[in-house]
Subunit: 236 residues, 2 copies
Amino acid sequence: MALTIEVCLTPELIHQHQLKGKIAVVVDVFRATSCIITALAENVKAVYPVSTVAECLTLGAQGMLTAGERGGIKIENFDLGNSPFEYMGKVAHKEVAISTTNGTLALSKSTDADQIIIGAFLNISATASYLLSQKLPLVIHCAGWKGTPNLEDTLYAGSLISKLIQKSYSLSDDSAQMAYDLYQINKNDLIGAAEKSGHAQRLARFGVTKDIAFCIQNDYYPLVIGKMEGGKIIKI
Amino acid sequence: MALTIEVCLTPELIHQHQLKGKIAVVVDVFRATSCIITALAENVKAVYPVSTVAECLTLGAQGMLTAGERGGIKIENFDLGNSPFEYMGKVAHKEVAISTTNGTLALSKSTDADQIIIGAFLNISATASYLLSQKLPLVIHCAGWKGTPNLEDTLYAGSLISKLIQKSYSLSDDSAQMAYDLYQINKNDLIGAAEKSGHAQRLARFGVTKDIAFCIQNDYYPLVIGKMEGGKIIKI
């Protein structure tokens, strides 16, 4: 019996999915989970995703670095924004509290799952290998944009599916089929496809085109696997 | 300024879309809106979509034909199920009350729109021509399957977009882009694509494979345009 893969295109639809007994792979390509994987690659001690700016500041007062954005823009007085480049050379052996528009919401809505894994193109092959070792059904939980589906997270879902589909997994809903099809037509030009997304166009207006190109890279951090347990994200 | 096209992949996400000032095109390819277009082509007087079996029976007691399904199966004691073939030769000059799992929900959640148009492959070109004449922004509202997105309604959205995109319309959300891309890769084998959908597989188990082939046909009824006004659907 093949293991099932479901895709949830936005946190607004996660109540349609049974998470218990499954692994949730949470992805927010632009840019929360790409930042988290970068932080893990940079040997952060742990990343604490929180819902509000106030919670971030409370953890900041306890010695953590504060990180995050609202509507794509760095929060005032925070140590870090939501660009992977800001995490480089700054987070080793430290703890980071992060709050973002979409990514941290998707993480907080995934806690019924047996495991929560952090998805990003930057470590997609390592994540796929880990998932294959676990032999559990999957729900790929796309963070989307303010409650609506987005292109880049759906493309990630399709790309991850393409690494699992030949290996004892099968698609169990139409969203998974749609994500897989979308990846198939766009796989030779992921940057071009991602640039069509509304979110990429918003980011481009903030001058962060280089973030788009960075976040869309496959396996830039080939050895990192990120997992959330007990409210914090660590490298496993 | 181009007119915008949004796609709502399931009624669960319709609250993300502002409908006022726009046309909502409601589609439930398998099979509610395909049945409604068939009924209009067969010269039904009007179709009344209602939410519950009880409402249908009340209207039936007033002389209407009762139609509908729950979970893909005809409702006991109803005059008609949810197959377009059942409407042929039976509905001319009559009124029909219909209640289905997904389609009638999408219709009831579209009432904030300036106009509600009934979408189906069976009359897609006529619908596109009508929309072009109206010069209003669009929300293509896919009925989906029990709250989740489905393949066939998304393909309809992509196909309708392909008829409008060169003609003063532009895509205004990632769901519209995804629907358009999905249609582009599947357009030469829509039946094959539709057969991958979970709903088609459920229908095939009920032995209604011929409904799938029928509902996926472009412009079988090239002159029919369906519109809902004041709670009833008529041909315009």
